[in-house]
């Protein structure tokens, strides 16, 4: 309802002021009407009418004084409806206004004001100068040409209305089928109409027509009475129902008008003989009317949350959540720079005449970024991209590039996104103007919501938009960087592998140089001894010559004329012997210098060795991660298994702070998860069973990690019922691997479980696949060169021990000779080394023992442990004894000779040589020879003998996933895809991924997944098109269950998706549990269908 004020006397200034006030009040009334606040509209209209009563000049002056507080009162009501209502009513009661309302009417008005809670977020027009908000109103009215009291109907609302009209038509059809004189017809028709009316009630509630639903319930009560008392139903009452249905149709056609509710309520309160059995009470009428007025403004918009008006520091925060998933963060950091650049380029193109393709591209990138940021928990990027996406959608719908002002805002936002991306990668601090930019974008989004794109995006509005931006340079305080935000460099793992290998090679080469220098020193020392000897010989020779000379001279002295005491007389022999003695001395001096140089060289090589080892350790650090990093995944997978099986159980992790190689840890995840699911599904008993067995109500599963030499040992222990040996035996009999009368130990039965495709169950379960599946876990562990041991105690539980070798590392080792082999023995477990002479061999109860320092130890020869053939063995007695501690016992291990001890780099025996019990790997010695590195405790625990009679069979790579349901994930966001992939793999699904509908369709041609999860918006082919494509295919995938996961929460999107044939619709953020339960439900449905067909 809009009233035009009559012209006011303009002869004086007071009159003009009154006229101005009147105009403002009129605007307030209009705005209240547009917001569905009809009570507020009424009070403004009452006031406007009062002002139009041509007051005298004195009265007008008083009125102006009084009116100066009106705007404040309206604001007060908007913020505090209860208190504000009272103030408004009191204002209207002011005697000068002379408003002709009775007390009852005032009470009714007051009630209306209270029952219409105003929108707190709504912006009031400023008191002094109207800005774009108010100025746009008349224009909007002109454009639409509609009554201001009627709210424009959104396409979504119209769809909902059409749905309800369809339902009401069905009710009408059943009523029309009634033949008034035929009781059967009346009974059936009324019952069917009643059933259909219930559907109309449900649909009305779902669509937000609460008032209509309430009326339908009331009419339904009447129909129920007619059904129960058929005599009371006659043709007049049939007409009554049909007339009411006509009013429903009228109401639905005009529900957005202010008085639309009146139409449908007409006649419902009447109580005459052929009228309603239960007329509608007056008090209900009022409340239903209020509901209907709310409906007129909210239908079609109820599922969209209100957009924020102001940006806060928290909204632009780049602080990562405490429980951030490092893998997803890595993915986000990986894709962020590319996406922000793509977004920036697209909006830059818009500045220079870009088209709708650029808008769509920018919108898609914003959508992807929003999803990724939400998944990781980076609020700053998620909020900004969310608003940007909405603005770009509005631009795309209008098929009109944004104007200069909006493009400027978008470019600012793109810059801000890039700055945020750099900040997250720790290249720069967070952008200072992030909050201001978000505020600007929010203002644009809100204006577009209210006034549409075309009304806003002009140069005139640029200033308005700009003035609303509050620049807050110091909005984001720089938080101390978290561990995950410390400076990082992304390096291809291949480079790290090479660096690691080279550092290992460097140690090996250095060892060779050290070894050479040692040998040289030994040789130089030998040479020194020879020089010393040479010098001694030279001295002796000299003495002999002197002696001979003296003797000679005594015989012949006459020739010279001098006595020997008068002059020394030398011959060539003297000279030669003297020169030789001097040369021997010089050579010895030189050899001493060489020895000194070699000592220095050895020291340099030692330093280099230490540096090389430190380098390798540092490189190793880049590959090491704490086991705790996978703890959340393990716990989540475990909780899901508990939920799916309905069992109560608790998982305890021990040793999760151990650091191990990332590749090894990744390779461990699948087998561990499978073990956990197995433990829950097959090990832990139900709550009732546990109580009956006297066990604690909650099952206990312990997962323990332990570093054992160069291996990581993982023990998964549950306190369930242990292995079912009878079932294993039965399966073995069925498979023909066991004869009915064949005796077999429990240990052998355990080994059977590890054989390919050996399963005690024939039915696949989602929790742990088809049966125990230990064969698959075993195959995975074997493929990594590890081993798997089962240890079950019936009724008490099962322990699965997996031992997996860690890649190349360093250990201190003893170099020994035995049986003609040179071997390196890791020092692990070696507590003492003795010379053979210190040991006394004794035999006690037929067992060989060695007495060492008065203590007897079990004795064993390494030749025997390694099954070295007799012909290779040394005939000499052993030379050294190693005292080794394992499993609480010490054993004396005899070896032929102890050669050296040194740090050795352990290398894997390679992909072709499987795990050899007792072997850690091999090392390259200083002379280039390769020698195995032994783990004596392991060798003592499980001495084995290699078999030569073996028929090579292909290694059966029993994949866990081959027995599990397959799910295809279709999403254009890498991080979203990866997050879902991880969730589903952890839950025990095999996962296929596709980037869009086209890729998914191509994959579907080759695969038959059991379920498909798809995003809605994707490039090339979206989720709705993909679903429609699947449903129209005449193949095995046409009935594939499809779940849509999207950020689109409106009914319109949901209906479109349902029309395309989806089975379930989830809006982000999605609860993992709800998603998995829905998936399980759909998979069970499919299985049931399959069983029925079978």
């Amino acid at each position: 309802m809009n009233t035009t004020p009559p012209p006011l006397p303009a002869e004086n200034a007071t009159g003009a002021a009154i006229e101005e006030q009147l105009g403002r009040i009129q605007q307030l009334a209009d705005q209240a009407a547009s917001e569905g606040l009809y009570g507020l509209q009424d009070v403004n209209l009452l006031l406007a009418e009062a002002l139009q009563e041509n007051p005298s000049a004195a009265e007008a002056a008083d009125l102006l004084t009084l009116l100066s507080t009106w705007h404040e009162l309206i604001n007060g009501y908007r913020h505090q409806p209860l208190h504000g209502t009272q103030a408004l009513i009191e204002f209207l009661r002011h005697p000068q206004l002379k408003i002709p309302l009775t007390e009852d009417e005032f009470a009714l008005l007051q009630e209306q004001l209270v029952t219409e809670p105003p929108c707190f977020e709504a912006q009031l027009p400023p008191t002094d100068d109207n800005t774009a908000t108010v100025a746009a109103r008349p224009e909007q009215e002109t454009e639409s040409g509609t009554d201001p009291a009627s709210v424009p109907v959104s396409p979504v609302a119209q769809e909902l209305v059409d749905l309800l009209l369809l339902e009401s038509e069905r009710v009408r059809t059943y009523l029309h089928s009634i033949i008034a004189d035929d009781k059967n017809s009346v009974g059936t028709g009324l019952q069917q109409a009643q059933d259909e009316l219930e559907r109309l009630v449900n649909a009305s509630v779902t669509a937000g027509f609460e008032g209509l639903a309430a009326i339908c319930v009331h009419v339904g009560n009447n129909i129920q009475h007619f059904v129960e008392h058929l005599d009371s139903f006659n043709s007049a009452r049939l007409d009554l129902l049909l007339i009411w249905l006509n009013r429903v149709t009228q109401y639905l056609s005009t529900f957005n008008e202010a008085d639309a509710g009146q139409k449908i309520l007409t006649g419902l309160t009447d109580a005459h003989p052929d009228g309603w059995i239960f007329p509608l009470p007056d008090e209900e009428v009022r409340s239903i009317l209020a509901q209907m007025r709310t409906t007129s403004t909210t239908v079609g918009a109820q599922s969209e949350p209100a957009r924020a008006q102001t940006a806060s520091d928290d909204d632009v925060s780049l602080i990562l959540p405490d429980d951030v998933n490092p893998e997803l963060l890595e993915l986000l950091l990986h894709e962020l720079p590319g996406h922000t650049l793509q977004f920036s380029e697209a909006v830059q193109r818009l500045q220079f005449g870009g088209d709708n393709r650029d808008i769509e591209l920018a919108q898609r990138v914003a959508h992807t970024l929003k999803g990724s940021a939400n998944t990781v928990g980076v609020k700053g990027i998620a909020h900004l991209t969310h608003q940007l996406e909405d603005i770009l959608i509005a631009c795309a719908k209008a098929r009109k590039p944004p104007g200069r002002a909006l493009t400027g805002a978008l470019i600012n936002a793109a810059d801000c996104l890039e700055a945020m991306s750099e900040s997250l990668s720790n290249f720069s601090p967070p952008p200072d103007d992030a909050r201001a930019v978000l505020q600007d974008i929010l203002d644009w989004a809100n204006r577009i919501d209210r006034q549409g794109l075309s009304a806003l995006d002009t140069d005139a509005t640029q200033s308005a938009a700009r003035t609303n931006v509050t620049r807050t340079p110091e909005t984001s305080k720089n938080p101390a960087p978290l561990e995950s935000q410390k400076p990082r460099i992304r390096v291809a793992s291949e480079h790290i592998e090479n660096l690691f290998r080279l550092s290992g090679e460097s140690i090996i080469v250095n060892s060779q140089a050290l070894s050479n220098s040692r040998r040289m020193r030994t040789q130089v020392q030998a040479m020194q001894r020879q020089f010393t000897l040479l010098q001694q010989l030279a001295d002796e020779l000299e003495q002999l010559i002197d002696l001979k000379d003296l003797t000679g001279r005594a015989i012949d002295t006459s020739d010279q004329g001098f006595d020997t005491l008068e002059m020394d007389q030398y011959n060539e022999l003297h000279t030669a012997s003297r020169r030789m003695a001097e040369a021997a001395l010089d050579a010895r001096e030189i050899s001493l210098d060489i020895n000194k140089e070699l000592t220095v060289l050895s020291e340099v090589l030692d330093d280099q060795q230490r540096l090389a080892i430190e380098t390798q350790e540092e490189v190793m650090q880049t590959r090491l991660v704490a086991i705790a990093t996978i703890a959340p995944r393990l716990q989540r997978s475990f909780r899901q298994a508990c939920r799916l099986t309905g069992k109560l159980s608790e998982l305890t992790l021990l040793g999760e702070n151990i650091l191990i190689d990332a590749d090894t840890l990744n390779a461990l995840i699948d087998p561990i998860m499978h073990l956990l699911r197995n433990a829950v599904d097959h090990g832990i008993e139900s709550e009732e069973q546990r109580l009956l067995l006297g066990k604690p109500q909650i099952g206990a599963i312990v997962l323990e990690f332990e570093r054992e030499g160069n291996n990581i040992k993982v023990c998964c222990t549950d306190d369930g019922h242990g292995l079912d040996y009878a079932a294993i035996r039965a399966t073995a009999l069925k498979r023909g691997e066991l004869q009915p009368d064949q005796a077999i130990s429990e240990e052998q039965l355990q080994q059977l479980l590890l054989r390919p495709n050996f399963s005690t169950r024939s039915v696949t379960s989602q929790t742990s696949g088809r049966g125990v599946g230990m064969d698959a876990v075993h195959a995975q562990i074997i493929a990594q060169g590890g081993s798997l041991i089962l240890n079950s105690e019936t009724g008490k539980g099962l322990t699965v021990t997996m031992t997996i070798p860690l890649p190349l590392s360093l250990t201190h080792a003893l170099l020994i000779d035995t049986g003609g082999y040179r071997l390196a023995v890791a020092n692990k477990g070696i507590v003492q080394i003795y010379h053979a002479g210190e040991a006394e061999a004794i035999t006690e109860e037929g067992l060989e023992q060695l007495r060492l320092e008065g203590v007897c130890h079990a004795s064993v020869k390494l030749d025997d442990l390694l099954h070295i053939p007799e012909q290779r063995r040394s005939q000499r007695p052993y030379g050294a004894v190693l005292l080794v501690k394992t499993q609480g016992q010490t054993t004396a291990v005899q070896v032929d000779a102890l050669i050296d001890s040194q740090d050795v780099v352990i290398k894997s025996l390679g992909r072709y040589i499987g795990k050899i019990p007792g072997f850690i790997g091999a090392t390259i010695l200083g002379d280039g020879t390769v020698t195995p590195v032994l783990d004596l405790p392991e060798l003592l625990r499980a001495p084995t003998r290699a078999l030569d009679s073996f028929h090579a069979q292909p290694m059966i790579q029993a994949k866990l996933e081959t027995t599990l349901p397959t799910v295809m994930v279709v999403d254009d966001s890498l991080s979203q895809r990866r997050a879902l992939e991880q969730l589903l793999e952890d839950a025990g699904f095999k996962v296929l991924t596709a980037r869009d509908g086209i890729e998914a369709a191509e994959l579907l041609a080759l695969n038959k997944p059991d379920l498909l999860l798809t995003d809605l918006e994707m490039p090339r082919m979206n989720g709705i098109e993909l679903t429609a494509h699947i449903r129209t295919q005449n193949n095995r995938n046409s009935r594939l269950p499809v779940i849509m996961i999207t950020s689109r929460s409106t009914q319109k999107h949901r209906l479109m998706a349902e029309d395309a044939g989806i089975d379930a619709y989830f809006t982000k953020p999605v609860s993992d549990q709800e998603l998995l339960l829905e998936m399980q439900h759909l998979l069970e449905q499919t299985q049931d269908r399959g069983n029925q067909v079978a």
Binding site: L909, Y912, A922, A952, P954
Partner: protein, 179 residues
């Protein structure tokens, strides 16, 4: 250590025949293969794999492994396992003279096996494919893909990776230590 990479065709010793370099498929549309002999058995190795004959390189023996695992080689810092298919196939060592070490692949993917004499280069197109493989030693049955016949010699395409993976698994008895 002296190696003769077949890719380059460089053979420094005079008594070693210089083999022609395999021609590329683009040029002549032929598919070259290395033909190696192990006893009476002939095998083909695709020429696009890095292969080399290793000479004057010591095989480091390992204790307590299957007899067909001759040991480990140190090839430029990489540990390469050596398999003796003569033992696996129970082929005689006598009739083909000196054995050579033939390595297939690079780095940690490399594996080596003893072969009789040097490998030959053959064009697969010149070999007559067999529609059905003849009876093969049991060990080879799961790994032979197809076979060819030429001058009475059977040449087999073998998935060496899988064969050596199977042969490299340690199959043992847990009966304890030797006494």
């Amino acid at each position: 250590m002296q190696t003769y990479p077949f890719k380059t065709g460089a053979f420094p010793d005079a008594d070693i025949p210089i083999l022609p370099q395999p021609e590329t498929a683009e040029e002549t549309r032929v598919e070259s293969v290395f033909a190696i002999r192990i006893g009476s058995q002939g095998f083909l190795v695709p020429a696009d794999k890095h292969c080399e004959v290793l000479d004057k390189i010591a095989v480091n023996k390992l204790p307590n492994v299957h007899s067909w695992i001759s040991g480990i080689l140190n090839v430029r810092g990489n540990l390469v396992p050596v398999f003796d298919l003569h033992i696996v196939l129970e082929e005689s060592l006598a009739h083909h003279g000196k054995r050579k070490l033939f390595a297939i692949g690079r780095g940690h993917e490399a594996m080596a096996l003893w072969i009789d004499g040097f490998p030959e280069i053959k064009d697969r197109a010149t070999l007559s494919p067999l529609h059905e493989l003849p009876a093969l030693p049991q060990t080879l049955q799961d790994f032979a893909v197809c076979g060819y016949r030429q001058d009475g010699q059977l040449w087999l395409d073998i998935i060496f990776n899988d064969l050596f993976l199977a042969l490299g698994q340690h199959h043992h008895a847990t009966e304890g230590m030797a006494t």
